[in-house]
Every structure is written in C-alpha cells, then in structure tokens.
C-alpha cells in the first residue's frame, strides 16, 4: 500500500493554489500549455536558467516540501524531461560545428535535471531517480515508490510526473500522426471522431509513504501492459481486478484516459464494457491534453475526487449511481501501446 499525503499539480487548468475545474481553459492550435504560477519559492538566479519542464516540476514540488518530514528520496517519471533545451543544445552542436556551446541548455536538457534540481533546492541527499519509460514513466516511478513503501513504511518520498510541450517534438509527433490535423478545440475533443489528439503538458507531485495516518488517498494497486491487442488488454484488466481482490461492485468512479483519438477508442470501450453499468465515468484529457506522464494528473484527480470534490459536468461522460467517490479505478492508454490501471481508495 502506498499512501498519498499531499498532492500538487501545475497543468493547463486551474489546479495550482486555488483549484477550480469548473472553468475549462481553452486549447490553442491543438496544444494545451500549462498555466505557470509566479514561482515565488524559486530564487530568480535559478529560475532564469530553468527550462519549462524543470520549472513545472520544481514549482509543483516546492509547496509539498514546506513543513514536511525529511524526504527519503525523490522519484520522478518523465518521458522527455527538458526536451526543448535538449533540442536547442543538439541544434547548437550542428550550427556551431561542435564549437563553443552554452552549458545551460545542456544542464537543463537531461531528464534527471528536474529531480536533481528539487534535491539541490531542498538539500536532499537521499534516493534520487528519474524513470523515463515513455508513456509508462510515471507508472514506473509509482511502482518504485510502492516498493520503497513496502520496504520501510515509515519513510516519506516525493513522487511525481512531469512533461512539457516542445515545439520541435510537437512537430515530430504531428508527423507521426499523434495529433489532429485540423485545429480542434479541447471542449470538442471527445466529439471530433478523427485520428490524433491534442498535445499537453504538466507536473503532478505527491508526498507518499507507507503510513495511513492523515493520508488523502491510498494507492491500492497498479498494473501496466504494453500491447496493441484489445483482447490482451481485456485479459490484463481482468487479471488486475482478480489478483488485487478488487470488487467492481464497490467501485464508485472510473477515470478514463480517453484522449479523443478515434484509433484508441476501442481500448477505452473495452475497459468501460468490462465494468458494471452503474459506475460513473470521468474524463480529463480535454483538461490536460495528451503527454507521456499524463497519468500523474489522473492520480492527482483521483486524490482530488477522493477528498469529496465533484467533477464538473464537462468531465463527466456517464453519471454514476453512487454519490460517494472513495473507490476509484483509473485507466490510461498512451499511443495505443502503453496501458496502465490504478486502483485508488480513500
């Protein structure tokens, strides 16, 4: 069991400081860019050097570290880290013929720059790791944290998922067909019935540990699958439910990672059909856009709902029979290949 004690999120919506999901912030040119706060806790001298992914990660993490116990470690998931700085640096190698290169872009471009910057700023010398498994980056970080919580339940860890939109990477992914060809507003994402989705970014951070006291929610079970086969997905979901003793009749809400890509609807439908009809369904990718560690947002959302907050109408795909929201199933699918299931309770 992994207990979540605090959660923080910087996203394209109002999720930082005063959380308000009722107003849907609009996408622009098939991108949902994060609303960046003022970053009061970051010294200007350091802030000016940070790439966006580092800013988002550090900015989301710092509020959690105030008045918190000493961290035993920092465990993050990011597929791309500071991709914008990485590509700037690679381009400089070519443009300047491997000559004099700027150190800042290089320092910010490594995927572990976020976790190391948080460690540096908080003076943490504990376990520090960044998982970079594309669409399962956050899930691998989560698995790592769950294993640490079993090993020593008394310790506290910072867990998080971060990714940024890089203009370079957006273009590459667009050519791969990941994003919609025509501009599609995020409020119409689920009705577009076209291939591709819209791009997103964000950072979600959690203080986690093995002790239940004062926790927001409990991460009861996690499972991942890499497959393009619907039947295999269905079997994997059934195995997840069975092996973790999850009673589907007790599940209140299903958080779906549906992203408006017509080519991936079959996976979401498969999971929805495997659940009792009275379970409510909530969607969130029109809030965040698609990015490899978007499942970190879904866990933040699960914590938010588990605290008694309700999902506004634009997020509800199907109204559930239950009023409570203490038993939550989360499914995410990245690029029709990487799947994850989470069971969260409170």
């Amino acid at each position: 069991m992994l207990y979540i004690h605090k959660a923080s999120c910087i996203s394209p919506q109002n999720t930082f400081n005063n959380v308000d999901l009722s107003i849907l912030m609009p996408s622009f040119e098939n991108m949902l860019r994060a609303i960046e706060p003022g970053y009061e806790g970051i010294p200007p001298g350091q802030l000016r050097r940070m790439g966006k992914a580092v800013r988002l990660g550090v900015g989301a993490a710092l509020p959690l570290l105030k008045d918190s116990p000493q961290l035993a470690g920092i465990i993050l998931g990011t597929a791309n880290g500071g991709m914008e700085d990485c590509i700037k640096f690679l381009n400089q190698i070519i443009d300047y013929d491997e000559g004099t290169l700027t150190p800042t872009n290089f320092v910010q471009s490594t995927t572990n720059a976020i976790a190391s910057q948080i460690a540096f700023m908080s003076g943490n010398k504990g376990y520090n790791i960044t998982h970079v498994h594309r669409g399962l980056s956050f899930e691998n970080a989560l698995q790592d944290a769950m294993m640490h919580a079993i090993e020593d339940p008394t310790k506290t860890y910072l867990l998080g998922g971060v990714d940024e939109i890089s203009d370079y990477n957006f273009n590459i992914d667009f050519l791969l067909g990941c994003f919609k060809e025509k501009f599609t507003s995020n409020d119409a994402l689920f009705n577009a019935n076209t291939p591709g989705t819209i791009a997103g970014e964000g950072a979600a951070m959690f203080l986690v540990g093995g002790q239940k006291e004062n926790s927001l929610a409990c991460m009861h079970a996690l499972s991942v699958l890499t497959s393009t086969d619907e039947r295999e997905l269905k079997e994997s979901f059934a195995e997840f439910i069975y092996s973790n003793n999850i009673n589907l009749e007790e599940v209140d809400v299903f958080i779906s990672g549906e992203n408006g890509d017509r080519r991936q609807d079959n996976f979401n439908t498969e999971i929805e059909l495997a659940m009792p009809p009275e379970i409510g369904i909530v969607r969130y990718k029109h809030l965040t856009g698609e990015y490899p560690s978007a499942s970190a947002f879904s866990l933040w959302l699960a914590c938010h709902l588990a605290q008694g907050n309700t999902a506004p109408a634009h997020m509800v795909k199907k109204v559930g029979a239950k009023k409570t929201c203490r038993n939550i199933l989360v499914y995410n699918c990245y690029q029709g290949l990487q799947h994850s299931f989470m069971h969260v309770t409170s």
Partner: protein
C-alpha cells in the same frame, strides 16, 4: 562602431544570452561589477559570456585567466571586444 553603441549592444546581448528576465539592459552600469555584488553573475554565466564573445564578436577565449581581466565590467568587456573582434 562607437563605444556607446557597442556598450548598449553588449548589455542587450548579456541580458539575452544569460536570460536575465528581471534586468533591463539600461539598468546595467558601465562600471558595475558583473560578478559578485554587482549584477550577481556566477561561474556558469562566465561560460555563457565566453560563448557570447565567440558567437557575436568572433573572439575565442582559451585561457581562463584572461577571462578574469575581461569580465570585470562592461567597460573592460567593450575595451577587449574593440581590440579583438573578428566580426
């Protein structure tokens, strides 16, 4: 290029290359120390300044000791650029 024009250009380049988001180029005084108590730059900024001189003015600094004499303030940088620029 006149000395004052070069100074203004250099200040603008320093703000741009070092991403000094809260600094206006005109706020940087000609005789204000760039490192320490003045503009407050650090060792990574020193490398960024070496890159700036290379890319903008075609000056390659290979001896770190040389940098200590050049990067004192705007005046010393401009003197060095005027004498050594290849662009």
């Amino acid at each position: 290029m006149e000395n004052t024009v070069l100074k203004e250009e250099l200040k603008a380049n320093i703000v741009k290359f070092l991403n000094l988001i809260s600094v206006n180029p005109s706020d940087i005084k000609d005789d204000e120390p760039l490192f320490g108590e003045g503009l407050g730059l650090d060792s990574i900024d020193a490398i960024e300044l070496i890159v700036l001189l290379d890319r903008v003015y075609g000056i390659k600094i290979t001896d770190p000791k040389e940098g200590r004499k050049i990067f004192i303030d705007i005046n010393t940088m401009v003197d060095y650029i005027e004498k050594n620029r290849t662009k």
